[in-house]
Amino acid sequence: MSNSSHATSLVGTRWVELGLAGFTLLIGAVVMFGSIEQGIGWGDAGPEPGYFPFYIGLLLAAASVANGVLTFLRWKPLSISFVSRGEFRQVLSVFIPIALFVCAMPFTGIYLASAVFIAWFMWRDKVRAKPYGVIMIGAVSLGAVLASFLIFDLWFKVPLDAGPLGDLIAMAGRSLK
């Protein structure tokens, strides 16, 4: 380990196990609740809409509780580190940009967000001995965006949300014609 903070554990596996079991239990509860709203009994036309999902929710909740209990039973062996600080920082350094990218998309459209996202990712890469030049960054990010426009929008006729900027360009294009 190069750095002491890289090796220290951030959280024990047991807590993550418990957290995930709690989360799936919550989903199970929500599913059961939603099913009860729809009726889980026997109506005039046979089983009501909530009949099947209710048991799905019940099974999900029961299995989650059992997973939680199993975690308690294996409390000691599960004290091993789930992720170290250094590793988690690495994961976050990718996850947070993805989250920002996804959240920006509805406002900027897919193309602009993607281009900025790729460019930022390349610019931030400090591991390399020599950072990428502006031309390289521009070429890759714009190239990727252009390729996706050609493939999706033009060839396969799957329109992608271009955002306000894209709409503006499209409008300008139409008025030129």
Binding site: L20, V31, W42, L60, Q90, F117, I118, V140, F156
Partner: protein
């Protein structure tokens, strides 16, 4: 033979320049997703699905299935050259493939892997050719209780046979079922589990889940492990190919055994991953060169690869005849079939004769095309892995986001993909399997319909699942599978066998 006639008809249908071109494109895209970290066959197919909506079903299935074959082949490239399994099902190939590459025998390992893969795949297609009509004809007699029992058997096999903890498999599966239930109820037309959120009215698409769980989740796991690609170089010359081919007949028994294991695991929902592991461990146990396994034994490459591809192709047998996919990728393809307006199951063989036989014929040709393409393009795809992560990762993420968006043209789906990505990361790290979730999300509605129909027939009595010998034995088999870990444990305890196998470390 009527199968033979149908096959010729199918060949006739697909032997057009357009379809062969689609095959090559599919295979190339497949190798690409197989090679790239974070993309694999299931989400590659999911990403490509929206692009197929405008195609004819035959062209679309050729593209998607060839992508599947390509991905299976591509997975072995990274396993052998980089010791990074591009696909979970090629993990077992790394055990001996990478040591061979380190010894400078990369080309030999690759040729052996691809060639045995082709043999396995062709065996799977042969099985499909000659069994599918019979199974479909048999399944024509099924009614709702039988169908539900078959679904039950598939799901219970997953729980009982999985390497993952059974309860975690149940959780993953039930989340899939819950996802399938969101949105419009197919019987009553009521909106279920939407909690008045307009974004949930169309339901949660399995494609978005697949892209998030497999794609984003995989990227996050890769980042955590720290990405160091130290690959071996390989140049495949005709000489090496011929020399390796000359060696292959010596391993005919390994190939035969691996084919049987693969076909079995593909037809039952064990899937290619389980098949390749099982085949590898059997080969190691019975090989003369047992001690050389793990150090670069060619038999250790042949065994998992043959089984992997045999399972991959034969997974389409239950998918086409019963509507039950044998692997996660087959599940996504099944979802595609439904989107194209086809009804997977026995009626497919009667109503969509051209489609079915076009697909089967394309499987013969597609796998041969895959072998040729993959042999020719190994250096190209190996160099793709040498592209820095900071370029390839954001592009993969962009493709995932576009793929999720284009399912319903909805930004909400992209958010959902992010959520599934985080879930996929946790699932992978804690040993929750992802394939059952996908399977349940695709099949949920059909399983529910079969169950509700059965309940209508019987007025709510569960006894209908034992009402005749066929459905009774299916249901009983399902329950046996479900409790298999307990049963086998009981048998072992009763005979005083000690479980000598230490718990193996978790694999992908």
């Amino acid at each position: 033979m009527s199968e033979f006639d149908s096959l010729l008809q199918g060949m006739n249908l697909i032997l057009t320049p357009g379809h062969i071109g689609l095959m090559v494109i599919g295979v190339l895209l497949g190798i690409l997703v197989g090679v790239l970290p974070g993309l694999g066959a299931p989400n590659g197919v999911a990403l490509l699905l929206p692009l197929t909506f405008t195609m004819s079903p035959v062209s679309a299935i050729i593209l998607l299935s060839c992508m599947y074959w390509g991905a299976l082949f591509g997975g072995s490239i990274t396993s052998i050259l980089f010791n990074i399994p591009g696909e979970p099902s090629s993990v077992a190939t790394t055990f001996d493939g990478y040591p061979m590459a380190r010894e400078g025998r990369a080309a030999e390992a690759l040729t052996a892997a691809f060639s045995s893969a082709l043999i396995g795949a062709l065996a799977g297609v042969l099985l499909l050719t000659f069994l599918s009509t019979r199974i479909a004809a048999f399944a024509m007699t099924f009614s709702s209780p039988e169908f539900f029992a078959v679904y039950l058997l598939a799901f219970c096999t997953f729980i009982g046979m999985s390497k993952n903890p059974p309860l975690k498999t149940v959780v993953a599966m039930m989340i899939g079922f819950a996802m399938a239930a969101v949105g419009m109820d197919t019987v009553s037309g009521n909106l279920r589990l939407t909690f008045d959120q307009p974004a949930l009215m169309t339901g949660i698409s399995f494609e978005v889940a697949v892209i998030g769980l497999f794609g984003i989740g995989e990227i996050l796991c890769t980042v955590e492990e720290g990405l160091v690609f130290r690959g071996e170089h390989a140049r495949i010359t005709p000489m090496v190919i011929l020399r390796t081919w000359a060696k292959l007949p010596r391993y005919w028994f390994t190939i035969l055994r691996s084919t049987v294991v693969g076909c079995w695991m593909g037809v039952t929902p064990g899937g290619p991953t389980a098949a390749s592991f099982m085949s590898y461990s059997i080969a190691r146990r019975f090989s003369k060169n047992r001690d050389n396994f793990g150090k670069g034994e060619i038999e250790g490459v042949i065994a998992p690869e043959t089984a992997d591809h045999a399972a991959g192709t034969s997974a389409l047998l239950p998918m086409l005849t019963l509507g039950i996919p044998g692997s996660a990728t087959a599940a996504v393809m099944l979802g595609g079939l439904m989107i194209w307006g086809l009804h997977p199951g026995p009626t497919l063989f009667a109503e969509q004769h051209d489609f079915v036989w076009g697909l089967i014929a394309s499987m013969y040709l597609g796998n041969v095309v895959s072998l040729l393409v993959v042999l020719a393009t190994v250096p190209l795809f190996a160099s793709i892995l040498r592209i820095p992560f900071s370029i390839i990762a954001p592009i993969i993420i962009m493709v995932c986001a576009i793929g999720a968006y284009s399912v319903h043209n909805s930004m909400f789906d992209v958010m959902l993909m992010l959520g599934f990505g985080a879930l996929g990361y946790l699932f992978k790290k804690l040993g929750y399997p992802i394939a059952p979730l996908v399977l349940a999300a695709v099949l949920g509605d059909k399983a529910e319909d079969a169950f509700r129909q059965s309940m209508l027939f019987s007025d709510g009595q569960l006894g209908i699942f034992w009402s005749n010998p066929l459905v009774g034995s299916l249901t009983t088999a399902a329950l046996l599978m479900l409790f298999w870990p307990l049963i086998s444990g009981g048998i072992k305890a009763a005979f005083g066998w000690r479980n000598r196998h230490a718990i193996k470390p978790k694999t992908l």
